[in-house]
């Protein structure tokens, strides 16, 4: 599985450049700049949404107006000017709902090919179904008919609002309430597109589902919303990937992801996040402020979050698990790389509510350049949660002397039967390791990439094969120039 070879080749090919940094020139439809009720109505109308959803948005907006931007993360950044952002931008050609690939604007298809995602090929070869979100709209969803035959719903969330109102009404905002936190509330007011998945009872989704998010337009924010429901006894593996053009200004990405897992069901959710991280001097890059939460409502339900975070100027993200059903299981596997001036404050929350629930947290933070990497995690055991277990392991790897790694674990155990274990290490790539690799013929970048991939192995192993290769390449690329 380890593909140091490809890593190396890619490292050479791109030689330090963010290769996803180009801009697609395409005619766009935008909402007027700034945020007010009219803009929200504009978005809702564009999406031909039912009335209840518009009301839901407006309620969230009113709540948001009363909220303050949080400043507890250990992050240092200039707060966005919310009136200087476009909240809706979509290719004109995507004015109607997503269609079959043949009808998609060729300019868009080219964009994805350039990003290494050949939609046609994906459809034929790899058997991964993809939902493609370009700025504010979903422009294509592959394999949807094949999936429908098995009862699996895989579509954009805008379509779901029209076609599956019962499911949407029942579950939207049921895990991350509209008033949850500053950025989640903003998202509830202005979310544009994202993916909706429903796996019916007893169905094992026959293929990997994925969404590819692309920010293209300048001065836009991307506010996507993903909702996945795994009904009793079902299983799905879902992947998301993301990129954006290189720009000197910071762009905001504030997403909400909600997962609902019923009795004996399982969701495996993997992310490879590669938003533009800004340049070497810390100019530009994406602000990635994301709320991701899974509710394990059923007994013996299971959720597994795996994330490889290499991009973004700032990441603020804590995929969480509400372990409600007895015997439910939450897992969090994370690799967060920060280089140059990148900052990441990321971790997870495991809330043990049901009996015999268990959770595992494996976090690998890698810091290079002048970057700061913070693991922030909460393990909470509620009074009625008998016999819960948590294992947490946080490892930090430092490359160079100017970067930092911090671990902030919070533990609140209100039930004495809880068994909680926590391990943390901080290490450096040693001169001895580097020389050992060089003596065997590897060059410095190959050596760093190999050592870092080894450091992250427990997390990388959790990724589906296609993603693992991609993620390994990214590790190598994002650390370029960090040594020697």
């Amino acid at each position: 599985m380890v593909s140091t070879l490809e890593t190396r080749q890619t490292v050479e090919e791109v030689s330090g450049d963010y290769k996803y940094g180009f801009v697609t020139d395409i005619e766009m439809v935008k909402a007027p700049k700034g945020l007010n009720e009219d803009v929200i109505k504009f978005i809702s109308a564009k999406k031909k949404e039912p009335e209840w959803l518009l009301e839901w948005r407006l309620k969230a907006y009113k709540k948001w107006l009363t909220m303050e931007e949080p400043d507890w993360p250990m992050l240092d950044y200039k707060k966005p000017d919310f009136q200087d952002i476009y909240y809706y931008a979509a290719p004109k050609s995507a004015d109607d709902r997503p269609k079959s690939l043949d009808e998609v604007d060729p300019e868009l298809l080219k964009t994805y090919e350039k990003l290494g995602i050949s939609l046609q090929e994906q459809e034929v070869l790899s058997g991964v179904a993809v939902d493609i979100v370009f700025d504010s709209v979903s422009v294509a969803t592959t394999f949807r008919e094949a999936l429908k035959k098995r009862g699996v719903i895989f579509c954009s969330i805008s379509e779901a609002a029209q076609d599956y109102p019962e499911l949407m009404k029942k579950y939207l905002g049921s895990v991350v309430p509209a008033a949850d936190n500053f950025y989640a509330t903003l998202n509830s007011a202005v979310f544009t597109d994202g993916t909706f998945v429903y796996i019916p009872k007893g169905v094992r989704c026959p293929m990997e589902l994925s969404t590819y998010f692309r920010i293209n337009e300048a001065n836009t924010g991307q506010f996507e919303r993903t909702l996945i429901i795994a009904d009793e006894g079902s299983y799905v593996s879902y992947l998301e990937g993301c990129t954006a053009p290189m720009r000197d200004e910071n762009q905001l990405h504030a997403a909400v992801v909600e997962l609902i897992i019923l009795d004996d069901a399982e969701i495996k959710y993997s992310t490879v996040q590669n938003w533009y991280p800004g340049n070497k001097d810390g100019v530009g890059g994406i602000f990635n402020f994301v709320t991701k939460r899974a509710a394990c409502r059923g007994k013996n339900s299971k959720v597994s979050w795996t994330q490889v975070e290499t991009g973004s100027a700032i990441t603020w993200k804590y995929p969480s698990c509400l372990l409600i059903g007895d015997g439910s299981v939450g897992e969090f596997y994370s690799v967060a790389i920060t280089n140059n001036y990148q900052q990441a404050d990321t971790g997870t929350k495991m809330i043990h509510i049901g009996k015999n629930t268990s959770s595992t947290i494996i976090s690998k933070g890698i810091s290079a350049g002048k970057a700061q990497n913070i693991y922030r995690g909460l393990v909470k055991v509620m009074p009625n949660a008998e016999n819960t277990r948590n294992f947490t392991q946080c490892d930090s790897l430092l490359i160079g002397d100017e970067c930092g790694a911090h671990t902030v674990p919070y533990i609140e155990a209100k039930n004495p039967t809880a068994q909680l274990e926590h391990e943390a290490t901080t290490s450096k790539i040693s001169e001895e390791q580097l020389f050992y690799c060089l003596q065997r013929g590897l060059d410095v970048e190959e050596a760093v990439s190999l050592i870092v991939n080894g450091f992250c192995k427990e997390v990388m192993m959790q990724l589906p094969m296609e993603f693992a290769v991609e993620a390994q390449k990214l590790l190598g690329i994002s650390l370029e120039g960090s040594v020697g």
């Binding site: 003596q439 050592i451 991939n453």
Partner: protein, 253 residues
């Protein structure tokens, strides 16, 4: 052409003068042994040949097959065919022996302008080499040197050498920590590397290894220089009389 020519080599580590005018010439096909008291600078010499960072060459030259070696980086020197069997092999967590060697082989091939080795060929080769050195196949899947016993680490170095097929190997105390059977297995491995085109420099404290791997020359390194050179009988003599017998104060390396 000479394999390795070291002239008047002066090396400083952390501002400390370790090697002070060392001369050594090794021809293709020759096996040389270096002995000497602890702290004499034997490993320092090995590192200086292989280009380790922090080993500052303040004077002198190292020429390998006619090339000025001091101009090359450590991985380029490896590419030229130099292998170092480490006195203290390094652990690389999470990277399997197998993947490490695959990366190494393909880097060396790339340096020499060759294509990557086919995965099937690689597997065949590594299985064969592991068997020759009586290393259990499971060890190949384990992370490089992590949790290996002292002797297993040394044997692992030999598997790497056998895989990478260097033309010049420096083996820094590869015999320390080996049990009696392992010593013979490793010695056989070294002898398989002997050929008219290849040379070996073994650094050792014991005559034992030299019974199996018979050297053409034995040198004694002390006070930062080669102070005596002889044939294999010099090792026997040292074993009997110690360095004091040569008039070398063991404490004043």
């Amino acid at each position: 052409m000479t394999m390795l020519e070291i002239k008047n080599l002066h090396v400083e580590v952390a501002g400390q003068k370790i090697l002070k005018g060392l001369n050594l010439t090794i021809n293709p096909g020759e096996v040389h042994a270096i002995m000497g008291p602890n702290g004499a600078g034997k490993s320092t010499l090995a590192y200086a040949i292989c280009g380790k960072e922090g080993y500052e060459i303040t004077e002198g030259s190292v020429t390998f097959k006619g090339k000025n070696f001091l101009e090359l980086t450590a991985n380029e020197r490896a590419g030229e065919g130099v292998f170092l069997g480490f006195q203290y092999p390094v652990e690389i967590p999470g990277v399997s022996n197998m993947n490490f060697l695959k990366a190494a082989i393909n880097s060396l091939r790339k340096y020499r302008g060759e294509d990557d080795m086919a995965a099937v060929d690689f597997l065949k080769l590594i299985r064969a080499k592991a068997e020759e050195l009586e290393m259990k196949p499971e060890m190949l899947k384990r992370a490089v040197n992590v949790g290996f016993s002292g002797g297993e680490k040394k044997r692992n170095e030999m598997v790497q050498m056998a895989m990478l097929e260097p033309i010049f190997s420096v083996l820094d105390e590869t015999d320390s920590g080996l049990d009696i059977d392992a010593l013979r297995i490793v010695a056989d491995g070294i002898n398989r590397m002997r050929s008219p085109e290849k040379s070996i420099l073994v650094i050792t404290h014991y005559q034992r290894l030299l019974d199996y791997v018979v050297p053409d020359f034995v040198h004694v390194l002390a006070n930062g220089k080669i102070v005596k050179t002889g044939d294999k009988s010099l090792a026997l003599e040292l074993e009997k009389n110690g360095y004091a017998g040569l008039g070398i104060d063991e404490n004043a390396a």
